[in-house]
C-alpha cells in the first residue's frame, strides 16, 4: 500500500511550511515535497501606493530580514529616480545590511540548528532547543545570544529601532551617523570576534562527526548565484550577480538588477505558494540554482577581509573539484559570513567619510520602471517595480531567496528521505533529519513573526486512498 507522510508544520523555521513524503507499495520513498503553505499577497498590496513608501512597506514582509528588503526596495526606487546615492549613505547601508546578516545568521545557526548539531539529531525533542544548548554547552549558547544581540544593537543604533528601521529611504538614509554611535559600535567589536572564533572552533570539532549527514543533506550538483564586486570579492549590498556552474565554471557574470528579469525565470508548482526560480537559458528545472551563504562562498574569490579570507581558503579545500555541493556546509558558510561581517563593519567605521552629513539624494520620477537587488542572509533578493507618471506603483514583483532555493530544498528533502526512511518506517529522529535538511537553507517563509521554541508537530501516514493510517504527535 502506498503512503504519504506529512510533517506539518516543520519546526524551527521562520514561518509555516510542511513536508510530505510519498511511499510506494514497497514502502520506499517515491517523492518528497517541501510546501510553503502561506501566501501574503504583498505585491498586490503595494499597487496604488506611492513608490517612495515601498521600502518601509516591503520591510514588513519579514521580521527576520527587514533590512535586506529595505535595501533592495530602496535601490529599486533609486532606479526609478535615476539617482546615485552619496558614498556615506552607501557605506552606512552596507553596514546595516551586514549587522542584519550577523544577527540573522546567529539566529539560524545557534537558535535553530545548533540544537541538532550539539545535542544530536535523535536527542529528546523536549530539550532540543536553544535553552537545551545553553544547558549543555553554556559558552556556546551565550556566544550565540551575544552575536545576535551585537547585530541587533547595531541595527538599533543606526535605524533607531530594532525591527523595521525607517532610516533607509529612496536616495540614501535619513540621518547621518553620530560619532558617539560609531564609538559604541567599535567598542562592541572585540567581544564579537571572541564569540565567532569560539563558534568556528566548535564547529570544526563536530563537523567530522556529521559525515553521514554531509553525504545526503542536499548534496548534489547545481548552479550557484550571488553578488560579487568587480575584484571578485564577496558583496552583499552593491555589485553585480554571478552564476557559477557545478564544476566551478562561470555561467553568467555581471548581471545587474535591470538584467535580472531577462536572465531569471520563475516557475510555479501546484504544491507550493512559493515560486521556483531558474536560469532561463537552461530552462526549468535544469536551470535551478542555489543562493545564500554556501552559494556566495562558492562564487567569490575572496572575502576582502583578512580573517574571513583565511576561513574561505579552508572552505575551498572541502571540495577539490569546483564548488562545495553539500548543503550541510551552509552552516559553516554562515559562520564565515558572520566573521566577515564583523571585520567589514570595523573597516567601514574607519572610513574617513563615515560621519559625513551628506546622506540623501532627492529626485522625482525619472523612469517608469526600476529594479534593485541585495543579498539577504538567505540569498539574493530582487525587487522590481513599475510606476505611473505620479510615481504610484502599477506593478511589483519580488524574487526572494527561498524561491531561488526552492528546487534545491525539494531535491534535498527527497535525497534525505530516500536515505533515511526505509520500509515505510520512520521515527521522530529520522523525520527531524529530514526537517534539518530544510533548516540548513534557513528558508524564510514570508512570515513576519517568529514563534520561539517548540511548535507542535503532527506526522500523518496517509494511504494512497487518502485514509489516515497512523498519526504521531509530539
Amino acid at each position: 500500500m502506498s503512503q504519504t507522510i506529512t510533517i506539518d508544520p516543520v519546526t524551527r523555521l521562520e514561518g509555516h511550511g510542511k513536508i510530505t513524503i510519498h511511499l510506494n507499495d514497497q514502502g520506499e520513498v517515491e517523492n518528497a515535497n517541501f510546501h510553503v503553505t502561506q501566501v501574503r499577497g504583498f505585491e498586490k498590496f503595494s499597487e496604488g501606493r506611492p513608490f517612495y513608501e515601498m521600502p518601509s512597506l516591503m520591510a514588513r514582509i519579514c521580521g527576520i530580514c527587514p533590512v535586506s528588503h529595505l535595501i533592495a526596495s530602496a535601490k529599486a526606487c533609486e532606479a526609478i529616480m535615476s539617482v546615485r546615492i552619496p558614498h556615506t549613505a552607501a557605506q552606512l547601508r552596507r553596514m546595516l545590511n551586514l549587522a542584519q546578516m550577523v544577527q540573522s545568521h546567529a539566529l539560524s545557526f545557534f537558535y535553530l540548528s545548533s540544537p541538532d548539531l550539539l545535542l544530536g539529531m535523535e536527542s529528546d525533542p523536549q530539550t532540543r532547543h536553544i535553552f537545551g544548548v545553553v544547558g549543555a554547552k553554556p559558552e556556546l549558547g551565550r556566544a550565540g545570544i551575544a552575536l545576535r544581540r551585537f547585530g541587533q544593537h547595531i541595527i538599533e543604533l543606526l535605524g533607531n529601532k530594532r525591527i523595521h528601521p525607517g532610516w533607509v529611504v529612496p536616495g540614501g538614509v535619513t540621518e547621518p551617523l553620530a560619532s558617539a554611535k560609531r564609538d559604541e559600535i567599535l567598542g562592541m567589536i572585540p567581544e564579537a570576534y571572541a564569540n565567532i572564533e569560539l563558534a568556528l572552533r566548535w564547529y570544526k570539532q563536530i563537523a567530522e562527526t556529521f559525515a553521514p549527514e554531509i553525504e545526503v543533506f542536499a548534496n548534489f550538483a547545481s548552479l550557484y548565484m550571488g553578488l560579487i564586486n568587480e575584484d571578485e570579492s564577496i558583496e552583499f549590498t552593491d555589485g553585480a550577480l554571478r552564476l557559477m556552474g557545478a564544476r566551478g565554471e562561470i555561467v553568467a557574470d555581471g548581471i545587474t538588477a535591470a538584467q535580472f528579469p531577462e536572465v531569471i525565470g520563475e516557475a510555479v508548482e501546484p504544491y507550493s505558494y512559493t515560486k521556483f526560480a531558474y536560469y532561463k537559458p537552461l530552462g526549468y528545472p535544469d536551470g535551478s540554482y542555489r543562493v545564500g551563504p554556501l552559494a556566495r562562498l562558492n562564487i567569490a574569490k575572496s572575502m576582502g577581509t583578512p580573517m574571513a579570507d583565511g576561513e574561505l581558503s579552508l572552505f575551498k579545500q572541502i571540495s577539490d573539484d569546483g564548488p562545495v555541493q553539500s548543503s550541510f556546509y551552509y552552516h559553516y558558510a554562515r559562520l564565515i559570513d558572520i566573521l566577515h561581517g564583523i571585520e567589514k563593519i570595523e573597516m567601514i567605521l574607519s572610513d574617513p567619510l563615515i560621519l559625513d552629513k551628506h546622506v540623501r539624494a532627492t529626485a522625482g520620477v525619472n523612469r517608469l520602471e526600476g529594479a534593485g537587488q541585495a543579498e539577504a542572509p538567505r540569498g539574493t533578493l530582487h525587487h522590481h517595480y513599475k510606476v505611473d507618471e505620479n510615481g504610484l506603483i502599477t506593478w511589483a514583483n519580488l524574487v526572494i531567496a527561498t524561491g531561488q532555493n526552492n528546487n534545491a530544498m525539494n531535491k534535498g528533502v527527497l535525497q534525505a528521505a530516500k536515505h533515511y526512511v526505509k520500509d515505510g518506517k520512520f521515527t521522530e529522529g529520522i523525520l527531524n533529519r529530514v526537517e534539518a535538511v530544510v533548516r540548513t537553507f534557513d528558508p524564510c517563509l514570508s512570515c513576519s513573526t517568529h514563534a520561539f521554541g517548540q511548535m507542535p508537530l503532527a506526522i500523518s501516514l496517509v494511504s494512497a486512498e487518502g485514509e489516515v493510517v497512523d498519526r504521531v504527535v509530539r
Binding site: Q38, V39, R40, K44, F45, R60, G63, H164, S448
Partner: protein, 123 residues
C-alpha cells in the same frame, strides 16, 4: 406612523430605513456619516443570517452614539427605526441571528460563508 402586518420583516424594515439615512447623510459629522454606514453593515449581516449576538450589542451602542452626538436632525433620528423595532420585535432579530430564520419570509438566508480570506496581509 407606518402600519405594517406580519408579512413585513422588522429587521429588514430597520435596514431599509437605515439605508435611506445612510445615503441621505451629508457626511459632515462622523457619527452620522460613519455610524449609519456601520449600522447598515450590521443589519445587512443580520438579514443575511450572518449576524451574531455581539453584533446586536454593537448595534445598540451605535444607536446611542449616533442619536446623541450627531450634528443635525437626520443623524439624531436615524437610529429610531432600529431602536423601536428592537424594543417591540427583538425576537425577530433573535430569530435571524440564532435560528437563521426570517419569520416573515422576507430575508434571503444564505448559508454562512467563511469569513477568512485566503490572502493574509498586514504585519
Amino acid at each position: 406612523m407606518i402600519v405594517m402586518d406580519d408579512t413585513s420583516c422588522m429587521v429588514n424594515v430597520a435596514r431599509f430605513f437605515i439605508e435611506f439615512c445612510m445615503t441621505e447623510s451629508c457626511g459632515k459629522c462622523i457619527p452620522c456619516r460613519a455610524g449609519t454606514a456601520q449600522m447598515h453593515t450590521l443589519l445587512t449581516r443580520i438579514c443575511a443570517g450572518h449576524g451574531t449576538m455581539d453584533d446586536l450589542d454593537l448595534l445598540v451602542e451605535l444607536c446611542a452614539t449616533v442619536k446623541e452626538t450627531s450634528l443635525c436632525g437626520l443623524g439624531q433620528t436615524a437610529p429610531n427605526p432600529v431602536l423601536s423595532t428592537l424594543k417591540y420585535f427583538k425576537h425577530e432579530y433573535i430569530d435571524h441571528i440564532v435560528h437563521k430564520r426570517c419569520p416573515a419570509g422576507v430575508c434571503n438566508m444564505e448559508a454562512p460563508v467563511a469569513a477568512e480570506s485566503p490572502v493574509e496581509v498586514l504585519a
